[in-house]
Each structure stands twice: as structure tokens, then as C-alpha cells.
Symmetry: C2
Subunit: 434 residues, 2 copies
């Protein structure tokens, strides 16, 4: 055990605490910094060495993990006078695991040079997977850096991630954050689609339990739906497990980067406006599954269905058509954005299909979409598939209109599919983003 | 006076009452039907002949005006057993002035044949202009019919409309309703943009009076803004002058027709979802200007600006950039839809530029867009103009994101402009709708 290096750690929030204590369990000595005293107490109880000084937490540590909430926080923690970078020893390895804009990760690399610390092996390595996997050391990690830095940091990255879920992304610093960003395209859209689906279903008179059971077993499955819907049904919102504020932060990285790169991200853009309207209601710290309250103030699990079995089946079919249509376009939006920022598309597929962004639509159409973008597939063969999605989504949006139920994502996704009407090809859909 | 024919009239609502009483003032004998008794009392006091029987109101009337609220109401009033059509004399002229889907207007024409009443001269003639112009006989009217029916009905159409605002639309029955629909594309978007603009401005700390004054004098002017903003400032919402329910009905005609014809109408689609969310708040009978309450519960005219003169100017500039950007894309959406349904584009321009759909952006870019669609203009020359709009709108959307303020229309309009980034041409923008 004593051969394992001492590690410094900054940012013991829900994710960071799990990661840091997993490192302790794995036999590392971890010195943890956080601005919130009760967390430090808890960290000490878990076997960590608490520190109230950033420079102390970094002093003599050949490895350092920064897991703060935002780029602003990272910038201060890393570069202020008594911050991490100044205190790190020569040749230390620094992992930035926060979700930040790719441009910010790159700026850290540049600033390390500027301040004369190009000796530090810096790895842009955002993570995904939630608090349970953080504490288990089975996160997905998307790491971009020089080959030398990756070589240095690999041991730590491997401790924190599941065996098949460490993705070394080609492209150096910034590539990890880009990969996380395009994965979050799926997350940003699919988190809201959980609430839009349940909200639409409630307006149709469907009980939430029936909806969950049916959707999970259907082509409308998504990891987010399966995960969030438990909280929707039990109204486990305060605080729940993942706050509106968190996905808003990630959505903001997507849409601001998209604007910067002149990439249209229509569904993420719509999702962001709806998240803002949830924040306007005072829900920033509530679980993101609670956004179903934009559609109904009644618990969706208490709705008493008065529908006949046949009606119920038909209406559940509309909900599935809505969600699958949204997820289908979400897959296109994510993959097209990955292409736009120059990421390796098969790696995105491998990563997202089995991560929080996964959906049946992504799994079913993702490789086809990638083939189209890589020039390996004609569009004609897929026309019927796009047409199917369009027809099913159209039926759902028509019914929503008839009952005056907002379907922000569904109606916008349908508009994008309508733009492909000439040939209904995947290539036409993807071209909307090109 | 006695030479003027007797007229039957059905639907004495806010618009219909004004039209019917204007006909009385113009020397016609008008027999009016409505389901609501107090209206009939008022109609009698205004010199009309009230009737509680549809067939009585139609008997022996060589002219009949139907001005009910919806296609459903029209269908029942016209074709039920004791309805209008059965009671009309041979060769009567029937004006349907309600805003209905073009497909419905066409179905009336067909059904007249089916029931053996092809002797009736039927005119599809929706109106626009609001209650004051209805009562003044200065409405805009968009009339489609056979030349024979137009010839018969012209005298009445001229009494109801302003001299320069009677538009005989090529294309026969259905063309009038189509023209109204594409005009309402502008209305549906620009009514919501009033509230989005004031809401954004409120979040920026601007007083509503300053906003009104500045916007009206700027390139962000729209007829809707000038008209609605008076009610926004005085919170004249209950009932105000034009209910959320009315524009929702018209928006529904647009988006359902668009789906039917595979035309993407992205901004109208977004607007519709936001209207639905207003209805969810219980505002269906409130004035549409009251939608600003989605952004702020404080009266916008009572906001005390703490900004410096310079800051205030900069922030007013953002509001103008937001609105002008929305109106610019609204012009494209309306004109492209007109093209899609085969309407004469210069007539749309003439009509809308001086009607409730008018905006500085429509006036400035409408003829250029029409020229592009008619193949008379290259796109290259206009690239800078599109780029200007994009840059200004982008600044506004960026600021809205920074303060977590939803800008539903602005963000979607920006996405559409981003889709033209390759050449920033008007042709590229219009092609998104093709």
C-alpha cells in the first residue's frame, strides 16, 4: 500500500466525495479540500485527510484531482496565488474531472505554459455516471491529453473508471471535454423528455406507473427515463439525486459552444429554455425529474385511469411515439455535433450507448447515422425508417395539440423531421446540422 | 336605401358585432343570429333585427355573412337540418368570414355541391384588423372564390373593408383562408415576441416604458408591438382586447396545416407550445399581452432602472436585437409558407406590410425574400444583412443565457440563422423551409 502515491483532491461534492473516498478504499492517501466544513468532517470520518488550504492539499502530491462544479471555480482553485498549480511538485499529474467547455480545458493547458509549469502533466478528463458509480470506481471517463500525460495518469484513471469505460479520446487536451459535451447533448434532451413524456401521458389520463412499465419495455427506452422515472413516481425531488441546476450548467456549455462554432443545436436550445422556465419557478435545486410539474401539479402515480384497455394501449403508443421521436433526433444532434468538433464517432457510439445518454433509438440508429456521416451509406435505404419515426411523432404532436398540451421537444423534433420530407433520409436529417 | 338587399348575419361576437352594425349604419337591413341572448339585445338596440333561429336569419336573404369563431361552429351553423344553407334562397351569396383552415373552406364549397346548393355563390373571405376596424368598415379582407361569386359579393366586401385593403386572392375557394393563415404566421410569432421582449427587458432591469418608446422607434418595430405594448404597460389584460385563446386557435390552424403539407414552421411551433403553457396557467381568456407574466409577475412599467445611461442604452440594444431577429425569421417563415401553398407573394407583401402582421423587418426584407423565391435575386448580395441580424440576435441570446432568461423565439430563430452560416444568404434561410 505504501507504494501508492499521495493524492490531492479538490471539490468533495456529491461526485467528488465518492471519487475521493473510492481512492481511499483503493489504498491511496488522499488529502481533500473543500470550502464546506461539514463535508471535510465527513471526509475525515471516511479515512481522508481534510485540508482547509488549497496549497496544502497540493503540496508534495504527485497526483491531483480537481472536481469542482464549474470552470470559474476550477480557474480560481488552480491558478490563484495560493492555489493548486503553484503548490504542485515538479512533474505532477493533474486531472481536471469537472465538466467544462472544451475551450476552457485548452486554456488551462496554455496557462500552465504561461506560468512556467509545463512540467505538469495535465489531463482533461471529465466523468459521467452519477454518484453511485463515482463511489464504486466504475465511472465513464473521457480523457484527452498528450500521450505522456495519459501514460502518467492512466493508473488513476483506471482506478476511477469501469474496465470498459475509460475512453482515451484522440485530439489532446479539450477532446475529453468535447466528448463529454456531445454525450451531454443526449442527456440534456433526454432528461427533459422524461418529464415531457410523463406530462403528456398525464394529460392523456394515463397513470405514471403504467407509463414507466410500458416505456421501459419499448423502443422509447432511455437510460435517463429508466433512471429518472423512479423519482418521478415517488416524487423524490427535494433534493432528489440530480438537480435542475446541474443539467442547466451542462446544457449551457453545449449551446454556448454551439453558438461559438456556428453549430445549430435546436433540441438542446429548446430544452435550455424549458430548464430556465423551471428555474423561474424556483426549482433550480430540485431534482430534474420534477420538471414534470410544468405539466401537472398532481403526482403522476396517483392518476386513476378511466380509459378502456384499448384506449389505454393507444395512448401509451402516443407517448412512446413522442419519446422515440425525440430520442431519434437527439441521436442525430449529438452525433452531428461530434462530427462538427472532429471527434471519433465510433468512440462516441461505444461510450454513449452504454452510458447515461443511451437510448434504444441511439443504439438502433447511431451506427447508421455514423455510417452516413462517414460516407459509408446511402440515404435511400433508411428513408422508411425516418418516415416511420416521423409518422409516429406526428400522431403524438397532433394529439398534444388537440388537448393543448405543450410538447416542447416533440414539436421541435417533428419540425426537424419535416425538413427532411423530400427524401426522408438520414443524410437529410444530419445535413440540417452541417 | 330600400334598394339595398337584406342581409343575414351569424356570429355577433367582438368582430361580428362590429361588422354587422357597420352594415346597418351603411343602410342595410341586417338580421342577426347569435346563441348568446344579451348580444341579441344589444344588436336590437343598435338597429338590427335579432333572430334566435338560424333558418329565420337566412330566409329570403340574398346575402349572408357567417362570422362564427371556429370551423366546427361554421359547419354546424351552415349545414345542420335547420341551418343557414337550407334556408338561403336560390342564388344567394354566402360569405364565410371566420378564420378557418383552407381545407375547411374548400370542404364547404364541395358540400354545397353535394347537398344540391351549387347555386349559392360562396366566398371564402376571412378578415383581419381588430374590432375597431370591423366597426368602421375598414377591415383587411382576403377573399377567394369563383369570379362570379366575387362579382356578386364585391359590394358587401367593399362595405366591410378599407378601400386599399380588399384583397381578391387568386386560387379560388381556400385561397382567402390560406392568405389569412400566412398572415397569421406573422401574428402568431409577433404577438409572443411582444411578451418575450418585455420579459427579457424586465430581467435586464429595464422599465417597460423605456422599452416601448425605444422599440417603436427602432428596426424592431412591429404593428403587434406598438398595439399590444399599451396593454402591457397598463396591465389591461382582463379581458383586454384579444385573448390568448384567439391566437392559439389561429396558431393551431397554421401548425396543423403545416404538418399536413409537410411544411416546417419552427417559430410558430415554438410559439404554440408557449401559448399552451400560458393556457396551463389559466390565462386563455386573458389578453395575449399578458403572457409577459411568464417572465415576470411584476408590472413592467413599475421597474425602477438602476442602470447608467450607457448600460441602459446597451441593454435596450439587446432587446431590439432580439425582436428584430425574431421578426426577420418570422418574415421568412410567412413568405416561405405562402410560397409553399402557392399564394401570390407580392400580394402577401402588400397586405401584411400594412396590416397587423407588419414589422420593419418584414418591410425591409420581405421584397428581397420574395425576389429570392421568385428566382430574381442572388443570395450573395444579402449575406451581410443576414450576418448582421445573426450577430445582433446572438448577442441577445447570449445575454439571456447568462441571466437564465428563457427566450423561446429568439433562441429558435438564432438556430435557424445558424443553419445558414455557410453563406449567410437569404436563399439559404428560405431553403430551410423548402
Amino acid at each position: 500500500m505504501s507504494s501508492k502515491p499521495a493524492i490531492g483532491f479538490c471539490g468533495l461534492g456529491a461526485m467528488g466525495f465518492g471519487m475521493a473516498t473510492h481512492l481511499i478504499k483503493s489504498g491511496y492517501s488522499v488529502t481533500g479540500f473543500d470550502v464546506w466544513a461539514p463535508t471535510l468532517e465527513k471526509f475525515k470520518a471516511a479515512g481522508g485527510i481534510p485540508s482547509t488550504s488549497l496549497s496544502e492539499s497540493a503540496k508534495d502530491k504527485s497526483f491531483y484531482v480537481c472536481m469542482v462544479a464549474t470552470a470559474q471555480q476550477a480557474q480560481e482553485a488552480l491558478f490563484k496565488e495560493d492555489g493548486i498549480v503553484k503548490a504542485l511538485p515538479q512533474g505532477a499529474t493533474l486531472l481536471l474531472c469537472s465538466t467544462v467547455p472544451s475551450a476552457y480545458a485548452k486554456s488551462v493547458g496554455k496557462e500552465l505554459e504561461t506560468v512556467g509549469r509545463s512540467d505538469i502533466f495535465f489531463i482533461d478528463s471529465p466523468v459521467s455516471g452519477g454518484t453511485i458509480r463515482a463511489a464504486d470506481g466504475t465511472l465513464s471517463i473521457m480523457a484527452g491529453a498528450t500521450p505522456e500525460a495519459i501514460e502518467k495518469g492512466k493508473v488513476l484513471l483506471e482506478v476511477l473508471s469501469a474496465p470498459t469505460k475509460l475512453f482515451i479520446v484522440d485530439g489532446g487536451i479539450g477532446a475529453g471535454s468535447n466528448m463529454k459535451m456531445v454525450h451531454q447533448v443526449l442527456a440534456a434532451i433526454q432528461i427533459l423528455s422524461v418529464s415531457e413524456g410523463f406530462g403528456f401521458a398525464a394529460r392523456l389520463g394515463l397513470n405514471g406507473k403504467d407509463v414507466r412499465e410500458k416505456v421501459i419495455a419499448s423502443e422509447a427506452w432511455s437510460w435517463m427515463f429508466e433512471n429518472r422515472s423512479m423519482r418521478t413516481l415517488s416524487e423524490d425531488y427535494f433534493p432528489g439525486a440530480s438537480a435542475v441546476g446541474i443539467i442547466v450548467k451542462d446544457t449551457g456549455i453545449i449551446t454556448s459552444t454551439a453558438r461559438l462554432l456556428s453549430f445549430p443545436a435546436p433540441l438542446c436550445t429548446v430544452a435550455e429554455q424549458v430548464y430556465f422556465s423551471g428555474i423561474d419557478r424556483g426549482w433550480i435545486t430540485h431534482d430534474d425529474a420534477s420538471l414534470v410539474r410544468l405539466w401537472t401539479s398532481n403526482p403522476v402515480s396517483s392518476i386513476e385511469t378511466t380509459l378502456s384497455a384499448e384506449e389505454k394501449e393507444a395512448k401509451l403508443g402516443l407517448v412512446i411515439g413522442l419519446l422515440a421521436g425525440i430520442h431519434f433526433v437527439a441521436a442525430a444532434e449529438s452525433i452531428a455535433f461530434a462530427r462538427h468538433v472532429g471527434l471519433p464517432l465510433p468512440q462516441l457510439f461505444e461510450l454513449a450507448a452504454e452510458a447515461a445518454g443511451g437510448s434504444t433509438m441511439f443504439k438502433e440508429f447511431g451506427t447508421k447515422m455514423i455510417a452516413v456521416l462517414e460516407g459509408k451509406s446511402g440515404e435511400a435505404a433508411d428513408a422508411k425508417l425516418v418516415g416511420d419515426r416521423l409518422e409516429k411523432l406526428k400522431k403524438a404532436v397532433e394529439e398534444a395539440q388537440a388537448i393543448k398540451c405543450p410538447v416542447y421537444l416533440g414539436s421541435s423534433a417533428l419540425n426537424l423531421l419535416l425538413q427532411t420530407e423530400k427524401d426522408l433520409g438520414l443524410a437529410s436529417l444530419l445535413k440540417l446540422y452541417a
